[in-house]
Structures are given as C-alpha cells and as structure tokens.
C-alpha cells in the first residue's frame, strides 16, 4: 500500500515527466527566439579565435555552469578560458572565509583583483553569464572590458533583468555593455514544479548549457564556411587524442587553467 513505504510506481513519475516537458519548453523557446543572437555571437567568437584570441568565460555561483560547459572538454573548442572566483583563494589572494561569503559578488574592487590573476591578451573577448545581470563584480568586469574595447557577449534571463534593480555603483547592468545579448528565456523566479505548495526545480542552467552547445555548433559552422580550422578537443579514448589536444593547447600556454 502506498504511504507505508518509500516505494513508488514508475508510472506515477508524473512530476518528473512534467519537469521534462517544462525544460523542453524553455529549450524550444531559446532555440526559436535566440537563433539570430546565437549566430551573431558565434561569428564574433569565431573571429576572436581566428585572430588568436581567447573567449573569457565569466560567471559566479550557478553562472559557473555555463563556463564549465565550454571550458576544455572533449567535443568542445580550445580557445576558452574559465574565470573561477575560487582561483582567488586557491592562488592565495583571499581567504576561504572571504571566498565563501556571499557578499563577494557585490565587491566591485574584487573584480580588478580577479582580472589581475589571469593573463588576458589583446585579442581576447568576454562572455559573461548571469540570470539577473546585476552582480556588481560582473558589471565591473564588463565595464573594464568595454573600456578596453573588447567584444562582450552577455547571457541573461531578460525576465529577471527587467525585474531587478541595478546594484553596481554606476547604476548599470551587464546588458548595457553587451555587443550581443542572448536571452535564456527563463522566468524572473526560476522555480518550476509545485509539490504541494513547495516550488522546486529550475531550467535556467540547463538551458544555458544548451545555448552553450548551440554556440559551439554555430562557431564550427562559421569557421568552416570561412575555410578555417576548427580547434576541437578530442576525447581521451580516441587514438592520438593527447597529442592532438596538446598541440591545440600549446598555442595558449599561460592563458588558460587546465
């Protein structure tokens, strides 16, 4: 009898199916509405790669997932570098306590320290991910990058951006610095399934990952259409993968975290 144990019938998996349907809804929304933005962004990223530049991927908290999606993996492209705020602590610039204080994302001065630990080169560009697009540390990075005349792609949830106040001292948000804005299309409050009054589950990070891969496909297409090589990283199980990948990464020594 139900209720006396933790057993659950598979056919009752109604809520998980509902989640899958909701996720696919947001994936479809991203695909249908962001095609032009993704293609434009891919062109800018492809041009950056051809010029020897790296795309600097910046995100904090769950924005990190997008950076991880593109940063050095089998089936991915080489010229990406992940900003990881954890690096500030790992490299001894800040304590674990400061790292784990949620206020760190409000610290505009920390942005400069974060930029300084990486070797960012002239042809590099930025891709910054944030649902709300208002974190002061991220806005400061965008502001700095724009001052240096870099291309910036911003991935946000426009619903959330439009319903959030700017928090940076300048009153600006990430989208104010973007050459291209890609909209995740998720809601201001990204919680989706109702279990007896408690809201659970999110879509924004998975949709972000899907956008990241759609960007990868479009960068490939753009580079190939323009007769360029596409620097794809091989999976370790493929013969010669180590040598192939090393050849790609040697080009950027000192500019990316392995």
């Amino acid at each position: 009898m139900k209720g006396l144990s933790f057993k659950r019938e598979v056919d009752d998996m109604a809520e998980s199916k509902q989640y899958l349907d909701v996720l696919k809804y947001y994936m479809k929304r991203a695909f249908m509405t962001q095609k032009e933005n993704i293609i434009n962004a891919a062109k800018i990223m492809g041009d950056c790669m051809v010029s020897g530049g790296i795309i600097q991927l910046v995100g904090v908290n769950h924005g990190r997932e997008f950076a991880m999606e593109l940063g050095y993996r089998a089936g991915g492209l080489m010229p990406f570098h992940q900003f990881n705020i954890r690096d500030l602590a790992l490299r001894g610039h800040i304590s674990e306590e400061i790292l784990k204080n949620p206020q760190i994302i409000n610290d505009e001065i920390m942005a400069k320290r974060w930029l300084d630990i990486y070797n960012i080169c002239e042809n590099d560009m930025f891709l910054i991910v944030s649902e709300g697009g208002f974190e002061p540390i991220l806005v400061e990075i965008a502001l700095t990058a724009k001052r240096d005349n870099r291309k910036i792609i911003v991935v946000v949830s426009k619903n959330k951006v439009n319903n959030s106040e700017a928090k940076h001292s300048s009153g600006t948000k990430l989208i104010d610095y973007a050459d291209v804005v890609i909209d995740l299309g998720t809601e201001e409050k990204d919680i989706l399934i109702d279990i007896n009054g408690t809201m659970i589950n999110q879509a924004s990070t998975i949709v972000g990952n899907v956008i990241a891969q759609m960007l990868t496909a479009e960068i490939y297409r753009y580079l190939k259409e323009n007769n360029h090589d596409c620097p794809i990283l091989l999976s370790a199980n493929i013969k010669g993968a180590d040598i192939h990948n090393r050849k790609l990464s040697d080009k950027y020594i000192g500019r990316w975290n392995s």
Binding site: S16, Y19, R64, E69, R86, R91, N209, I232, L234
Partner: protein
C-alpha cells in the same frame, strides 16, 4: 553527414533527453527512494565527480527550489584548506588524483556521517579516484548511486588496479545516455563536437530532485528545499535550513 548547425544539435538533443527519460525513469525512481530515505534519517547526499562531472552537484543545490542537504567533494579543497600547495596540486609529473590514498584523504576532509549517501558521476567510470571513493563508501556501508555513460564505460578497460569499473560498485546505476567521448555531432573529420553529459546529467539531477520531493511529501516530511527569498519568512526558513546542515554542506 548532416550540416552542423544549432538546429541539428537541438533536434538530436531533444531525442536524447526523451531517450534518457524513457530508459532511465525506473532507475531514477529507485535512486530517489534511497535518497529520500537518507534525507528522512537526517543524512546528507555527497556528490563527487572529476572534471566536468563535478557540475552535477552544482545543478542539484545552492538556489531556491533546490535541496539543501547536498554536499560536493572537490579535490581542490586540499589547496583551499592549505594542505597542499597549488603548485604541488597541479604538478604535471605527479598527477594529484593518481597519488595513492587520495580518496581516503578526501573523504576525511569532510564531516561525512555513516548514514549519508554518495552520488558519483563519471562518464567513463574507469578513473581510479572515483572507483576508490565508491569502494570506500561501500566499506562504510553507505549507499552509492552512479551516473555514468553506458556507451562509454562498456567501451574501455578500467584503469583501476582491481579491474573494476565504477558502475560495478553501485547500488543503483543511471545511464546519462551520452555517446563515448561525450560529443554528439559528427564532423567531417575524426573529431565530434557538442558535449551532452552535463545537459543529460543536469536533467537527471533535476528529475531526482522532483522524485525525492514527491516521496518526502507523500511521507509528510517537510521538504528541505530553499525558498525564494521574497519575504521575511522565506529568509528565516532558508537560514534555519542552512543551520540544520551546518558544517556538513
């Protein structure tokens, strides 16, 4: 060969997600049952994976609508806690995670309780460290749920001295249905592009959350889920929740 573009990826991914759901819904439910039991007893769920697989834990916690009782093991915590220098940790001539005893030392870094449970994520399931962690958890009578790529793990030999693969040490295995090498689209070269395991893994993380919450709710157990902080009550609720699992997550 199909033209590589975002539409091709989008269509193939949709099919793949349907495959994951249909193929693995039973295993997801079984895993959710064990996870729910653990949570009901006051246990924590520890996630562990090397490289990109460690994103699974991030998907599963840390924001409104997520379970609070999730902790992620991370080898860079050795550096964060000052036990190893960053230089030593990244030494290419003595790969950190291949050094003997790392699994035990990593396990001992955290306050892990014997009633806790492990979710270990690895596409290939052949890497020594994840297998060592699974062995360790089993020795301590902790349940192990494994997320792996069936196609990948059956195609390669294990690198562990025992010859075992991660899935062989699992109480429950969930296939993320990724292809060997993780990349979904074939190009005209030998490379494939567009990784999928984080996406299908992310879906599995979310589906597990849904099923776990459903089960806990049916048992009348309050869901240890962070609320959206748009009221004083919600902020207090989250604060109490963090306090409940303090030092363990």
């Amino acid at each position: 060969m199909n033209t590589i573009n975002m539409e091709l990826f989008y269509n193939k991914l949709n099919d793949l997600l349907d495959t994951v759901y249909e193929k693995e819904k039973e295993n997801i439910v079984k895993a959710a049952q064990v996870i729910a039991e653990t949570i009901a007893k006051g246990g924590i769920i520890h996630t562990f994976g090397t490289g990109h697989s460690n994103g699974f834990g991030l998907e599963m916690t840390g924001r409104p609508g997520s379970l609070a009782c999730i902790h992620t093991l991370d080898t860079s915590d050795f550096v964060l806690k000052g036990l190893v220098t960053l230089e030593d940790f990244k030494n290419p001539n003595d790969i950190f995670e291949r050094r003997p005893g790392i699994a035990e030392k990593l396990y001992d870094l955290y306050a892990i309780d014997k009633k806790d449970l492990f979710i270990i994520i690895s596409n290939s399931g052949i890497n020594g460290l994840v297998i060592d962690m699974a062995i360790l958890a089993r020795e301590k009578n902790q349940k192990v749920i494994v997320i792996t790529s069936w196609q990948h793990t059956t195609a390669e030999d294990s690198r562990h001295p025992s010859g075992k693969k991660l899935y062989e040490l699992a109480d429950i295995v969930i296939d993320n249905c990724g292809p060997q090498g993780d990349a979904l689209l074939e190009t005209d070269g030998k490379e494939k592009i567009c990784s999928v395991s984080s996406i299908t893994g992310g879906f599995i993380a979310q589906a597990l959350t849904t099923e776990v919450c459903n089960i806990l709710n049916q048992k009348g157990i309050e869901l240890p889920v962070y609320k959206y902080e748009d009221s004083k009550e919600a902020i207090e609720f989250n604060s109490k929740l963090r306090e409940k699992y303090k030092n363990r997550i």
